[in-house]
Symmetry: C2
Subunit: 549 residues, 2 copies
Amino acid sequence: MNLVIVGGVAAGASAATRARRLSEDAHIVVFERGPYVSFANCGLPYHIGGMVERRESLLVARPESLEGRFRLDLRLRSEVTAIDRTRGEVEARAIESGRTYREPYDRLILAPGASPIIPPVPGTDGRRVHTLWTIPDMDAINLAIQEGAESAVIAGGGFVGVEAAEGLRARGLRVTLVEKAPKVLPPLDPEMAETVHDLLRKNGVDLILGRGLVAIRDDGDRKRVAIEGGDEILADLVILAAGVRPRAELARGAGLAIGDLGGIRVDDRLRTSDPKIFAAGDAIEVTDIVTGRPTLCPLAGPANRQGRIAADNALGRDVRYRGSQGTFIIKVFEGTAAATGANEVRLRAARIRYEKVHIVGQSHATYYPGAEPMFVKLLFAPEGGRILGAQIVGGPGVDKRIDVLATAIRANQTVFDLEDAELAYAPPYGSAKDPVNIAGFVAGNLLRGDVEAVAPEDVPLDAHILDVRTAKERQSCHIPGSQGIPLDELRDRIAEIPRDRVTYAHCAGGQRSYYACRILAGNGIECRNISGGLRHWRVSPGVRGRLRI
Amino acid sequence: MNLVIVGGVAAGASAATRARRLSEDAHIVVFERGPYVSFANCGLPYHIGGMVERRESLLVARPESLEGRFRLDLRLRSEVTAIDRTRGEVEARAIESGRTYREPYDRLILAPGASPIIPPVPGTDGRRVHTLWTIPDMDAINLAIQEGAESAVIAGGGFVGVEAAEGLRARGLRVTLVEKAPKVLPPLDPEMAETVHDLLRKNGVDLILGRGLVAIRDDGDRKRVAIEGGDEILADLVILAAGVRPRAELARGAGLAIGDLGGIRVDDRLRTSDPKIFAAGDAIEVTDIVTGRPTLCPLAGPANRQGRIAADNALGRDVRYRGSQGTFIIKVFEGTAAATGANEVRLRAARIRYEKVHIVGQSHATYYPGAEPMFVKLLFAPEGGRILGAQIVGGPGVDKRIDVLATAIRANQTVFDLEDAELAYAPPYGSAKDPVNIAGFVAGNLLRGDVEAVAPEDVPLDAHILDVRTAKERQSCHIPGSQGIPLDELRDRIAEIPRDRVTYAHCAGGQRSYYACRILAGNGIECRNISGGLRHWRVSPGVRGRLRI
């Protein structure tokens, strides 16, 4: 059995080692264009930032080790240029020598990955303009810093752009991050991204949103970056971080089916339109388990898993890939942002109806040192309450809650299951009512009709707004025109609430105003709870200006 | 509607505040024997240890706040002594004045909690002998320390005993922890508890296992604690931490059904055998969702949830409690131990067949600073792979993985679902293959027959043991009589492996020896993988002595 694998990083390396574990006899050839196999792509910004000191530690598996332990036939700096499906051969080219040759296969696994998108503007190919996707990219950026670069423009606010910003700030550079969209991090909805914007700015990143790149020009030794709107930014270094696209050229050239999003099309056994050819990793389209639609999901976890499954099927097993949910997490200086499942944009695109709640939870019992708040958004089905997506921004413990919610989504759980979730509680780790439970309670209350919730942007301009925080809290900031009655005085002062119109109640995070709504409803007053309270109001595009601080 | 609630801590306070949210009209009376409502029982050891500085922060909700915000009729230091079910009244006694009176109820919720078990030996009622279950208990222990206590004996190695040990060590006391069983922390199986023993000893706790208390005597100002086997320990302070039992006396006296384990029997709406009386919290028996059997689960999370559900049903809703799974976590100095679902003892008692695997995982990508190993045990069904239980001991990130596994158990997931779990990965938070995935892979490999695993204690004394670690690792310790062939040399030296008997392969944590087993199997040699490697061997009772260090 000749197994040929195109690509030797995440999916390719996983496929190769899995294949060896399944068969001692197979001849396993791995072609990798770059000089390294199985390197830690996700660690690159952290070596730039100095958090990961040793460059070598990013080389997950050395070629010698892969060759020795797994008896792989590695062809580094070698590119597969064509697939001859009739003869069952690939055409390969050794990049340094230029030598071309053919390699036969019985089964072929394509794991070519993704490549950075280069914005279609002049100057992206100049010196000191780099992507950050490979070890050589990282080396080039590090060299520029060693040579004295003191400022950088990062073009793009996806994962790589945001992580690069942190890395460069850690090295003392002045950093301007330019993003064409009005917000960073596509998996986050606008109000959740807003907290990330605050974190970036607080840590000295000059953030320019809603304006794309126009051109990159030389200015002596420096770069002059022109952006939409006419401004120019002078910097020593430019990093292009405009996202990635699947490397599907080889598959396309071989006549394999390509999906509408430009990725290689595969079935649930990760088989392409040719039954002898499988594909895995950033280059393929997968099914989004929430929307049921094809999606691109260029993440390391799914890539590794897919590599393993492609090898299983290539070697005759029957193993299914059950789709992706896009679980992601990112460190943003002292904060953490994470998401799983679909966001509002994706749900609307897929015409899936949803409800949403926002809650503020604590990483652990507030009386135990180190507790920090987190802001949780939960999206769920109006009927039945199936969980459709979640987003969390905060600090410690965000990773835990997003993983619990990712597991819940994968298991088709509902918001009612979150109410019942029995999570591990001791004061250093959580609360008897975990943020996950609280999100479930608030969503459950909504679906049961115990309270009507409303997002800040849906509060009418002339609404009667009731602020149930304490007088002291109200002093520091409030919504102009709102009525202030602290929750604990509400019953005694209920006559002060107008009965001829709807009251929109809020507090800091949404819990006290929920209690207030129950009191008002019990007294026959129509009421809505402003979801997520001022915490949510403060970051909601469109209404955040309506706040007097 | 008169709603009477007996008990005002976790379940009782939750029931009371929930009831008010459901009804503005109900008259809600809460009887609490102690001087505090809704206090943070779980925080007591941390105030003793000084991690929680302010005593007041343990008082979660002040009486004034509960009375004002929720309009509760609180009766502190008041005991309900009897229930007159015919007339729908409880008999109450104000503890300080001794005044007795009757209070009518339409619905009654019993949330009396649990009380510490007092070992049946002489001297438990003496001075400087305390339980640690209430604020006054904590105050008494703190007073003893302020008065100069320099040493303590803790009788019992459950949660409270272990947490108290940490707290007292933090205050500089010499601590001896005496446990009648051969191990601490009942939810952990012996090999998992062994790591906790190591942590306790490493942090200066004198641990005496397998020997119970015989008597506590005075010796001048000090205490002389006699234990089984004839020894006596001199100390300034004794803490009784022998576990808790449900306070079911009131229910029993009223003729309500009591379960075999001594807890109040309830249905899934938390209704007792009297349809007007509900019960919640540490005093009730609940269904174990893994074994289907009744269990006692005196934990804060379930108690809060049950209080809410009891109130829902008492006020006419139909909400079901879907059982408990005993998810627990404990900080043990710099380490963390956690469990969810059933352990081996419970599975055997319930006659449920199971398989098990042990793996060593990392809290996050090893190249990013701060990664620490964790030791994961997974119990699952031999057919179908349903997850039955999990235990983890380690440091950072144990809480996350146990919560993911708790969610998976609640959702009836299998080990194959763990293989597919799409968890949040970035280098500071996890790995592309999370410990949860790895546990799933190893368990899946076992069920698919890709490898036969064997627990250290099941390796025959005369087995042929193959150590595939490097020569350097082998130097520091090894199993006497084992054959050492590093994994990367195995194919070349395969002729050295005997073919007439089974080879038991091991490495440090089980991964390399799994690769070795695949190589041996591919070469026609019968092989078993020693589950969890030396990490597991080292802590397995019975075999840990068979190691040359």
